[in-house]
Subunit: 162 residues, 2 copies
Amino acid sequence: MSKSVQLTESQMTWIRLETVAAILHRASDLELAKIGLNLPQVMVLYCVKTSAEPMTPMKLARIMHRQPHTVSALVQRMEVKGLLKTTRDLKRKNWVRISLTSKGEQAMQRWPTVTNVPDTLTSPLSKRELQTLSEITKKLHAAGLELIRQMQTDRYAEPLLW
Amino acid sequence: MSKSVQLTESQMTWIRLETVAAILHRASDLELAKIGLNLPQVMVLYCVKTSAEPMTPMKLARIMHRQPHTVSALVQRMEVKGLLKTTRDLKRKNWVRISLTSKGEQAMQRWPTVTNVPDTLTSPLSKRELQTLSEITKKLHAAGLELIRQMQTDRYAEPLLW
């Protein structure tokens, strides 16, 4: 059986990106385990903390590009851990608002002071490479959102937050 | 409560990369669902197909940078779906070898012919940006592996395969 698969240059780029994403996740999770968190939890804390509007599980799912049921389960686990609290919206009873507890607030403020992963990963990059990476990231972000919009029928149009 | 979190430039870069990774995953999963696959399954098929050596679940976990128990469960589900078969190694009874079934082989050959995600995502990038992205990816890959090695005590040193 042949060992080769015929891939185009863009398909190889996609596989390299996917591999790097897996490595970043693994490195981040190993580091975050030391402070009792994991990557999805940090992303939830960051999204809730920096959002200008009240946060709901559905909105969080759109911003994080995850399935709503995955995010609901994540929010529930984080509430049990005391990092988040959820309250029913007074105007729309079926809406749940998510906010940080003081423990969640402390965890979010602590994360940037203890993490070494972002600095260590980007340290081999030149200033020009970092700048190009930022431009590339924005283009991939926009192209990815457009693709998702075409493939998905429900509303999925969160703007670029950062 | 303040809405701001003080982050460094590299921490913001890390969050942007994480967001783009989530978007790439979502777009890929939406597309792959049409041919009855998902992203981790395609990565398993690709790794098993292109490996020069016999593949084991432990080796797969290292290449994919996932937890061994996650990969074992994934391999089991793919065996039930008829995409993979596992056989005991004749020399080392506790080793399991993974290989593609003809259905898995067909799925792997079919994927590059039906996927539009890689082309669409990279089409807004200039030739220079694509080249820089390739260099950046290699540096992030190497820096990430080094970080994981420092944080993890067990053997974790798969070379760059592509």
